[in-house]
Amino acid sequence: MTSAPTAMPSDTGPDAGADAQAGAGAAPRPPRAAVRVRRTGRMRPTGRLRRTALPYLLLLPALLLELFIHLVPMVMGILMSFRELTQFFIRDWSRAPWTGLRNYELAVDVNRPVGEALLGSFLTTCLFTLLSVGLCWLLGTAAAVFTQESFRGRGFLRALFLVPYALPVYAAVITWVFMFQRDNGLVNHVLHDQLGLGGAEHTFWLIGDNSFWALLTVSVWKGWPFAFLVVTAALQNIPGDLYEAAALDGAGVWQQIRRITLPSLGAVNQVLVLVLFLWTFNDFNTPFVLFGKAAPEAADLISVHIYQSSFVTWNFGTGSAMSVLLLLFLLLVTAGYLLVTTRGRRHDDAC
């Protein structure tokens, strides 16, 4: 494995330094570039303008897209959340009556059905996310560590692990729907008919309380290959000498994992868990395809709940208010998480 070059921190690499100096214009450059610099030097004003404007010009498309794809809709969503936006006004929402904070009051008042249902859905989502992210991380890391050693069929196994990640979400989840069906589904066939678990009566997975576990199963099945992919990539960056040295000192496999592998994954894990958290918390496709537009109470994830509040009951104002609240929550969690984890890293660096 030629892992050494990639292991080098990039910000101290020779390329980065050259780039920075080239920007200042006094860098030692290959001859051809130097000629070009001299030539542009003759018409200095436009040249300098071009050189200073170019980075911004190159950034412009990304900035515009960011503006139109994220900022404008976000601002519109916030504006909508202060209006009574129902079917009477969707053709021209700017005419919808201003209601101040009423939509927010409706969303957070847990003594009334809308707020109560939102809170229930929020708590369900928190528990679901916690379990799903935890299991995804655990499975992904275990599989990555397991396939780190070279053995026959490793490539095949790795490819196989990534299948859920590569499948179109809709097709994959629909297959799960068939498997979870009570009377003809594979899950009950295996659990009840072949293994004899849970009695003779078949279990309902798509309605009622068990729907939570069905949803969790599909979510983990869909999510862990990403963890596997990221951790596998990160493992390539751990220098092999560390393990060799540890082995010489008499460290066993488990000690190597605990003392070398896991600590070296720290930074990657922080990003991985954050990304998994955001994806899982906001996942819409899985519950929507699994349960349709009216999810069972036990599996009423917040994204579908908000969708239902806005698009199915046509109460877009309240739906927008819920979305804004959700956004605030996710921002807070993310900020808190980053604060805690980066402080930890600084501490590491100091050691």
């Binding site: 009477f88 021209d92 309605i207 309240t318």
Partner: protein, 438 residues
């Protein structure tokens, strides 16, 4: 994940389009313009077994229209599950088709958006007059006292379909005409892994249709005279409980039906697992699942003891069907009217309704002998004498979701063996009512 992102981006673009459309803001007058007279876009709802079947059925008819008028029709068949969202997106963005199909129960909800062309006397004149249509079908095309928001295209009603062989084997001579008979007959049929009646417990619309009829039979309404929701009145609670009790107490519906929402009950019926289903225009689905005509019989949906199907407490179906609407901001208003006239013409009505096994809402087309078969006679008589339109209120769409979900949850309770009581039904309906806007 990537799909979510893409969807988010698509929504964003749609919202942006909406914003700019709003900014332009002058396309708000009565009808569309005629700036593109040579072309029309038509969103057809998925009526046949699949989308390809619809394209095959409609294609030749649209060609016929093009040959007569020179107007080319671009057809898009939209699956049911997407249709309402697509219409809402088109309404918000102003970038919709010229002509489209809507489920007739959505008429008032969509009418409230103001995006559909109102069918005033003048517009009706352009397609041959309002009197050509059956009255109950016009009644399900918009709120009372307003110009209809759409024109009826296909009509359907509920009927009781029963398996003749299973009835014969159980020694039952005629299909149940009342709910009491349904329960006694049903108990005879529900044994040895077979069940008397099929249901679609997770299908919100179907739940609503059944609950609506039973509510009528208990003398109740889901919306009061002022148009306010009255979901949890004692009579409505009784009606919903009666329906769920067919599984919970009477045990003539298989518990597994609680999770059905993709017409699995029709498959069970065709496969001889259940003896009866309450359905609208099911014949073509049965033949698609391998039944032969004559294997099943058709009877009116049961009514309360001692009654015969009629109006009021003996209502036994909702007025089901598909309407044809025109987007107000079309750039080919004359062409759109011509197209509606063509589709609702006597000749096309016969062709299209024969294809789809529905009843023509146009009176003159009903007399065709094709609509006098046993199945269709029951459906036609039901439509003419004992069907009522679902509440024509702007909140109809929300009603379908909230009450439909409540019934889905009650079926889930029944399937899991949890008790379904008057209190639990009332609690669910009260919650549904409180989720309605305002």
């Amino acid at each position: 994940m990537r799909r979510t992102r893409a969807a988010a981006a698509a929504v964003t673009v749609a919202l942006l389009a909406a914003a700019t459309a709003c900014g332009g803001g002058s396309a708000d007058s009565g009808g569309g313009s005629n700036t593109a007279p040579g072309e029309l876009t038509y969103w057809a709802s998925n009526q046949g077994p699949d989308i390809a079947a619809d394209q095959a059925a409609l294609g030749p008819e649209l060609k016929k229209f093009e040959q007569r008028t020179g107007i080319k029709v671009k057809l898009e068949v939209v699956p049911w599950s997407d249709l309402l969202n697509r219409i809402l997106a088109a309404t918000a963005s102003g970038q919709g088709p010229d002509v489209l199909n809507i489920g007739n129960t959505w008429s008032s909800s969509l009418q409230a958006t103001g995006a559909l062309l109102p069918w005033d006397a003048g517009n009706f004149e352009a397609i041959g007059g309002k009197d050509r249509f059956v009255e109950s079908a016009i009644g399900s095309a918009g709120a009372a006292g307003k110009d209809p928001a759409a024109v009826p295209l296909y009509s359907m009603s509920y009927a009781l379909y029963y398996n003749k062989k299973m009835f014969h084997e159980a020694g039952i001579e005629k299909p149940p005409a009342t709910w009491d008979e349904m329960v006694t007959t049903g108990r005879k049929l529900s044994k040895d892994g077979k069940w008397a009646l099929g249901a679609e417990g997770s299908n919100l619309s179907n739940n609503i249709h059944q609950a609506f009829v039973l509510s009528r039979q208990h003398g109740a309404e889901f919306f009061d005279a002022a148009g306010k929701p009255s979901f949890d009145t004692p009579a409505n609670v009784e009606a919903v409980k009666q329906y769920v009790d067919l599984m919970a107490k009477d045990k003539i519906i298989a518990p597994g039906n609680a999770e059905y929402d993709k017409n699995q009950s029709l498959q069970d019926f065709a496969g001889g697992k259940t003896a009866m289903v309450l359905w609208q225009s099911a014949a073509s689905s049965f033949t698609a699942h391998g039944m032969k005509e004559g294997d099943w019989g058709v009877a009116p949906v049961p009514v309360p003891a001692g009654g015969t199907p009629g109006t009021g407490r003996n209502t036994n179906s909702m007025v089901a069907g598909i309407n044809l609407a025109v987007f107000k901001n079309t750039d080919n208003i004359d062409g759109a009217l011509k197209f509606v006239k063509f589709m609702t013409g006597d000749e096309e009505q016969k062709i299209l309704n024969k294809t789809y096994g529905s009843i023509p809402p146009v009176k003159a087309a009903q007399s065709d002998p094709a609509f006098a078969a046993e199945d269709l006679t029951v459906l036609r008589d039901t439509l003419a004498t004992s069907a009522a339109p679902l509440p024509q209120v702007p909140e109809e769409s929300q009603f379908e979701t909230t009450v439909g979900t409540a019934i889905k949850e009650l079926f889930a309770d029944a399937a899991a063996g949890r008790p379904v009581t008057t209190e639990s039904v009332k609690a669910k309906l009260t919650k549904a009512q409180q989720q309605m806007p305002n």
